[in-house]
């Protein structure tokens, strides 16, 4: 059994609930104990960092201070939470004066953070600690002949990811370990427009269209992604893309943990497969 402190992030409990739901049975099946960080708050997130850095860093610091008490690595399944908590940690190491101010803010709630928490993305933990071989050894329903395009998005691999920032391979290796076929495609780590989809939909829809087209042209039957924002953009906005660009995509976009769960023989309900807007049931039927 491996032990971690777990930080779900706000989206995993709402717009990305299939992620939050599917992480838990998958972790259990892979002998990972994820102890949810008690009373965690918003990570600070990119919008907050673009309004006020000190406040955003203080927000991240409360989580890090709470996590430090557990003595465990802090694992999050959300790519944006990962980047924000990780960058906050870096700021604290590199900018002593900035850290002093954050310390003073934390002291207002009698909290202290000495900088000792290692922030990790769930995909990195699955790849490094559990390993594709370890996952493969637990597969009971090999996903034979299923063509899966791994969409890494941005913040899992940039700016300081564990994988190649331009041509990552970790998720592809995990897909292969599940018995499925990893689709080779160019857009696997290109930007989907993230939250720009709300204020500037036209900009994001263009990027989403390029990603879906590239996946389809390379024969993908479905996509997987670890990121809440990427999943919403590619899944929930797929019908909007179809009407805007006169396309006919019908590509299920699963959270990586949902696909892993299917191969591990976890029931569909426990993986919230009904939560995906483009239903994955047709392509997954042979394995359920």
């Amino acid at each position: 059994m491996k032990y971690y402190s777990y930080y779900p992030g706000c989206s995993a409990e709402a717009t990305a609930s299939p992620l939050g739901i599917s992480v838990l049975p998958v972790a259990k099946a892979l002998d990972m104990e994820l102890a949810e960080l008690e009373d965690w708050n918003c990570c600070g997130s990119t919008p907050y960092w673009s309004v006020d850095k000190l406040e955003a860093a203080a927000m991240a610091a409360r989580n890090l201070a709470l996590a430090e008490k557990t003595g465990l690595d802090l694992v999050t399944p959300c790519s944006n939470c990962f980047v924000v908590l990780h960058l906050a940690n870096n700021h604290f190491k590199e900018l002593p004066r900035f850290k002093e101010k954050v310390d003073e803010a934390l002291a207002a709630a009698k909290l202290k953070y000495s900088g000792g928490v290692r922030v990790r993305h769930l995909v990195e933990v699955l790849y490094t600690d559990i390993t594709p071989e370890g996952i493969g050894a637990k597969v009971t329903k090999p996903l034979k002949e299923l063509k899966v395009a791994s969409y890494y998005g941005c913040q899992l691999v940039r700016p300081d990811g564990f994988d190649d920032p331009e041509c990552p391979h970790s998720l592809d290796e995990i897909v292969t370990s599940l018995g499925a076929e990893a689709v080779s495609w160019e857009m696997k780590a290109r930007c989907c427009g993230s939250s720009l989809v709300m204020p500037e939909p036209d900009v994001a829809l263009e990027l989403i269209n390029k990603i879906l087209r590239n996946a389809q042209e390379n024969g993908a039957q479905c996509l997987i992604t670890p990121c809440p924002l990427c999943q919403i953009n590619l899944d929930a906005y797929q019908s909007v893309v179809n009407s805007k660009f006169k396309t006919k995509y019908n590509l299920p976009v699963l959270f990586a943990t949902q696909l892993i769960g299917v191969a591990l023989g976890i029931p569909a309900d426990d993986l919230a497969l009904s939560g995906n807007i483009v239903s994955p049931m047709r392509v997954l039927a042979p394995y359920l």
Binding site: C10, S11, E13, A14, T15, S17, P18, D39, N41, C42, S45, T46, P47, Y48, W49, S50, V51, D52, K53, L54, E55, A58, M59, R62, V83, H91, L95, F98, K101, V102, E104, A105, L106, A108, A109, L111, C154, Q155, R158, P159, P165, E166, R190, C191, G193, S194, S195, L196, M198, P199, E200, P201, V203, A204, I232, A236, S239, V240, G275, I277
Partner: protein, 192 residues
């Protein structure tokens, strides 16, 4: 544009210091204007002044023009520029610094709704300790163009029907504690 940049008035040279005062902004000194950032940016074609030019404008002291532009608001934080920059200056961090300065100085553009969305997001995170996505989206549309919400209504409905859009916010137990931390951070000069 190039001519204006050369003739930038001396009174505005402090724009560079302003940018450098924000963590991540100081690396701007190392920029060699190679254009890798602009060439790598997935949204650069929409920017009034794409990343390379925006950096040149900071150096030229063109504060008003740049901070009131739509430029940095198109940064989706994909960090492609950051991993490719041959001078390690992290252009995305500089864009975030410009966003902070634009909001702080009241110059942020009204042509792009991103500044309003960011503020709605911060309000949501501050009041509950967690982001309430539905509330934030509704506030954004009410504050900008309520009719544009109709276009995206099917997306919201889809998320709701798939149990992905809770109708109530979650508030953390330690909200008082968090507010004390954030108020202290604000008092320490976060807003300056």
């Amino acid at each position: 544009m190039a001519e204006t940049m050369v003739k930038a008035p001396d009174v505005e040279v402090s724009f560079m210091d302003e940018v450098c005062s924000i963590p991540g902004g100081e690396a701007i000194h190392s920029c060699i204007q190679c254009g890798m950032c602009t060439g790598s940016c997935p949204t650069a074609s929409k920017w009034d002044y794409p990343p390379r030019k925006a950096i040149a404008m900071v150096r030229a002291g063109l504060r008003q023009e740049l901070l009131s532009s739509n430029s940095m608001w198109f940064c989706a934080s994909c960090y492609t520029c950051t991993v490719r920059c041959p001078r390690d200056i992290k252009p995305a961090d500089i864009m975030h610094a410009l966003e902070i300065l634009a909001i702080r100085s009241g110059l942020s553009t009204k042509r792009n709704r991103t500044p309003v969305m960011y503020k709605c997001f911060v309000d949501s995170a501050r009041s509950n300790g967690r982001v309430y996505e539905l509330g934030m989206m509704l506030k954004l549309f009410l504050k900008t163009n309520p009719f544009s919400a109709l276009k995206l209504a099917p997306v919201g409905l889809g998320l709701f029907l798939h149990k992905r859009l809770p109708l109530r916010p979650t508030r953390i137990k330690g909200i008082g504690e968090l507010k004390a931390i954030l108020d202290k951070a604000r008092a320490l000069g976060g807003a300056k």
